[in-house]
């Protein structure tokens, strides 16, 4: 024999052989132990065995098997062991207690055989028969791994997704399917998961990537669930390639940004247009006013009448331009509330007085009913006036001669109130109510021709209401009339009180 038995036992036994003190400190560590656990002999000697090779969560089991060996002299079992790099192996372990001359336990001799590949085959057989058919029928790629992180089942969707041949993934570490930069961390996450297995998605909020056999990466979404079997807990991962979804998301984001830019450009355009339009209009209105007042010289009746027409048209146009500018400002978030304390009944009277001529011309009766409890409110007076003005103007416009328009105000809860403007005019069709507050959406062209206006009024009214933190609603029955309800806080945030 060319080598001594001692030499063969140290270097050539096919099992890892470890001798420890009764407390578990390593005295002997053979070459196979170096290979199976990854610790060199010099590293291992003198260290507590548990700290090196027992996975987290296995302490009780480890102690239990040692105790049994001490009590019974010997104990054989199958368990999971940890390697120096954190990966897990499946081992068949035998602990044998050695006693001293007085019969007291002195040492423990341990043989450990790495049976990871056998365990994979056993687990694979178990899940193949139970789950293969089921998992082939799902659209997702499914990978099952056992506690040592070895793949025990990959459905054909998974093989196709990662570019492997039938059966090629069996027994491989799941880390094979990850880009190398994530592998180290993954081993740690995996043992963490094994300690507390539950159904969840992997790496919530993180970008996850899969690695194909050919070396290319792709974004994935993974959900994990534990599968408890007689052979231990397996982890099932359902993997979805999100390349297409990511691309669509990106495209949508870009489109969205583009739309926002276009919308801002539109707002800027409208704002500067309104300003530019107003400047010459001021000239038109100013000179017409000056002339019609007869300052430069006397006018005959017809001249006065025509100048009055120019003035009315000019003022109407100015009003529309102002509405448009207001709307753009409010919608672009550039409008601030100028909050002050004022009397709501007074404001309502003021608006009514302004519209009296129109109401009288059409012989429309306007009634006002303000709850006595309501008096002072703290809001942007000018804008509340605009809201009421717009609603009242609309009500008068869409009510036939001799009709009735009612204005009401009543408290809602402790800190809100509701303004209502109702009429017995033409009303609104149910299908049209949704479009009512959209700018430039006047209902049917016929209406626009008959009643005039730009279709800006209600869009602006809603924007002004929203700006105050309020809500505008409408109730209407076609042919019978409409009721607009504006709910506003008694005091809006902003400057002032």
């Amino acid at each position: 024999m060319s080598r001594s038995i001692t030499d063969l036992l140290q270097y050539e036994t096919p099992d890892a052989i470890v001798v420890t003190t009764i407390d578990g400190n390593v005295l002997h560590w053979n070459s196979e132990a170096e290979r199976v656990f990854g610790y060199a002999r010099a590293e291992a000697i003198g260290q507590p065995l548990e700290s090196m090779i027992v996975p987290a969560g296995h302490h009780d089991l480890y102690m239990q098997f040692r105790r049994r060996a001490i009590e019974n002299g010997e104990c054989t079992f199958e368990t999971t062991r940890r390697r120096k790099d954190g990966s897990l192996v499946h081992a068949v372990v035998t602990n044998k207690t050695i006693v001293d001359d007085q019969g007291r336990p002195e040492l423990i001799v341990t043989t450990q055989k790495d049976v990871t590949h056998l365990k994979v085959l056993r687990d694979a057989k178990l899940v193949e028969s139970k789950f293969r058919d089921l998992l082939e029928s799902t659209p997702d790629a499914i990978i099952m791994a056992n506690e040592t992180g070895r793949i025990v089942l990959a459905n054909s969707q998974a093989e196709a997704l990662f570019g492997y041949e039938r059966g090629e993934l069996l027994g491989q570490l799941v880390e094979l399917l990850l880009p190398t930069r994530y592998r180290g961390a993954h081993v740690g996450h995996r043992s963490g998961y094994a300690a507390q297995p539950r159904t969840r998605s992997m790496g919530a909020g993180l970008e996850l990537y899969g690695l194909r056999k050919g070396g290319s990466e792709f974004p994935v979404e993974i959900s994990l669930s534990p599968l408890r079997t007689d052979e231990g807990t397996l982890v099932m991962s359902a993997i979805r390639d999100t390349t297409d979804r990511k691309r669509i998301e990106r495209t949508l984001q870009e489109k969205n940004a583009e739309l926002q830019r276009a919308n801002q450009a539109k707002d800027r355009f409208l704002a500067s247009m309104s300003h530019e339009l107003r400047t010459p209009l001021n000239g038109i209105i100013g000179f017409a006013e000056f002339l019609s007042d007869g300052k430069p010289g006397p006018l005959n009746e017809k001249q006065k009448e025509y100048l009055g027409d120019i003035l009315n048209s000019g003022r109407h146009l100015l009003h529309l331009i102002n509405d448009m500018l207001d709307l753009v400002k409010v919608q672009a978030g550039k409008a601030d509330l100028c909050v002050e304390r004022f009397s709501l009944p007074e404001l309502i009277q003021e608006v009514c007085a302004g519209m009296r001529t129109i109401a009288e011309t059409k012989r429309i009766e306007v009634t006002v009913e303000v709850a006595p409890a309501l008096d002072f409110v703290t809001l942007d007076r000018q804008r509340v006036k605009q809201i009421l003005y717009n609603l009242l103007a609309n009500a008068l416009k869409f009510t036939d001669d001799g009709g009735h328009v009612g204005i009401g105000a009543a408290p809602v809860g402790n800190d809100c109130f509701r303004l209502t403007v109702s009429d017995d005019g033409i009303g609104i069709r149910k299908e049209d109510i949704g479009r009512l507050f959209t700018e430039f959406e006047q209902l049917e062209t016929g209406t626009a021709r008959r009643f005039g206006g730009t279709g800006l009024g209600l869009a602006l009214t809603r924007s002004l209401t929203t700006l105050h933190g309020g809500v505008i609603e409408v109730e209407s029955e076609f042919g019978k009339g409409s009721r607009f309800l504006v709910t506003l806080p008694l005091a809006a945030g902003g400057e002032g009180e």
């Binding site: 300003h275 107003r278 400047t279 010459p280 209009l281 001021n282 000239g283 209105i285 100013g286 000179f287 006013e289 000056f290 007042d293 300052k295 430069p296 100015l318 102002n322 601030d336 100028c338």
Partner: protein, 125 residues
Amino acid sequence: MSEGTILVVDDNTTNLKLVSDILGFEGYRILQAGDAESAQEIIRGTLPDLILMDIALPGMDGLTLTRRLKGEEETRHIVIVALTAFAMKGDDAKARQAGCDGYITKPIDTRTLPGAVAGYLRDRA
């Protein structure tokens, strides 16, 4: 007939004419400038009693010119009234800070302008 010399500074020729004519009909002597630089030129020749000053001007703006005029001994007494666009928030405060004695918002109300101007001139006297 009202007395006094008024300088109207506005880069919009229509507005310049409108304001000038309205006040001209009241009897004031009217001087006109389309920008701050020519306004300075005019003031060097004739000291007006009141200036109606458009804020947004090409080149030097109306507030800068106001600060200069209010900083000089010979021109400090001139009443300067800013013409601000449609009650832009904060413009009135800016005009006051620059030294304007008052402001009138555009669009000009042809019916109230003469009264307002007369008021500013009376306040100075």
